[in-house]
């Protein structure tokens, strides 16, 4: 199951995974440490990927991922085990990214847009990271950083996690109409920002 989840969400497996999530969650709520570790293993890559594209920074994404699981551990008994764990985790991840972004802006006084746009010259994007990251991914993260936070979150939750408009709206605390418009606008803005790179694809 873990290997399948690592490869990303897949509609065919969604139902089976949800029941596996629920069982793991119930066991973790009862204090089963192994079950909690399995939950971490199941979701860590997806949470990190979401956090990376939300924050545009590898270290911030690591912090947000850890923070998400720490919050899960603290609140695990309050989560409804009848529901899928995913939306709860995405919601916490988005909030953790926002909190980390705010702290960083206060401490460094550098807007996230500038940080990402500086790209190669910025130590936050070390040579190793950049070497591994594909050019398209780098362009994507730079473009995402230029989107308003809510639009970015709505777009990523829809496209990365395949959530419905209603689910995204619940996570972001917005109406379905607002989220639908945000996703639509974000798609077109992203297309404009990716510009020529997109044309070359």
């Amino acid at each position: 199951v873990i290997d399948l989840v690592m490869a990303g969400p897949h509609p065919i497996l969604a139902e089976r995974l949800e029941s596996a999530d629920a069982e793991l969650l119930r066991r973790a709520q009862a204090g089963d440490r192994v079950a909690f570790e399995r939950i971490v293993a199941l979701f860590e890559r997806r949470i990190f990927a979401l956090a990376l594209r939300m924050s545009g920074d590898v270290e911030d994404a690591k912090d947000a991922t850890q923070e998400t699981f720490l919050r899960l551990h603290r609140s695990i008994r309050q989560i409804d085990s009848a529901r899928s764990l995913g939306p709860w985790l995405w919601s916490v991840t988005v909030n953790a990214c926002r909190d980390i972004g705010r702290r960083r802006r206060r401490s460094r006084l550098v807007p996230i847009d500038d940080l990402v746009t500086r790209g190669v010259a910025d130590p936050a994007f070390g040579p190793e990271t950049l070497a591994r990251a594909g050019e398209l991914e780098r362009q994507l993260q730079m473009a995402l950083a230029r989107l308003p936070e809510k639009e970015r979150a709505a777009l990523l939750l829809r496209e990365m996690e395949g959530l419905s408009t209603r689910e995204v709206a619940t996570i972001l605390g917005s109406s379905e109409g607002t989220v639908r418009a945000q996703i639509c606008t974000a798609r077109l803005k992203l297309r404009t920002l990716l510009g020529r790179k997109g044309e070359e694809r």
């Binding site: 440490r33 860590e44 720490l70 990251a133 991914e137 077109l188």
Partner: protein, 167 residues
Amino acid sequence: MSCPPEERIALYAGGEIDRGLESHLAACIRCFELFRRLEADRDLLASEPPELGAVDFGAMRREILRRTRRRVWPVVLAAAAMVGAAAAGWVWRVMDREIPPPAVVAHVPDSGPPLAYARGSVTDARRKRSRDRKGAVAFDIPRDAFRVPTKDPDVVIIWFTEKGEPQ
């Protein structure tokens, strides 16, 4: 041919059903190209970021598990602190009790004349103390002071008065 707004194409690219737009995309190369690029953007967003290959998820997981481990020492220390506080409170209450008066060391008879009567002052009495025939300390009792008999020879009670001999 009038093209639809780009928002409509973006919604269609996101999976919304739009029969009217479908026929337009089949005929308009410009709109179809936008649709194709929007779909490519969706594919890119759905792909895993390459950075994931450089992250040590095992180390991250161990750190998460370490930070969520139940810590025994704080619980033990908290319990010890509570016991200590309770003990301190008990000691405090005990010490704070009213100290009972000391046991009676001398008995003063209800009646009976004073044993001695002499002129002088308290200061004089201190200076002129001497021993009586039995070896007990005796005082030259000053004027306006009376020695009261007690059962204990080591206990001396002197009654001072301003108006002379007690009635």
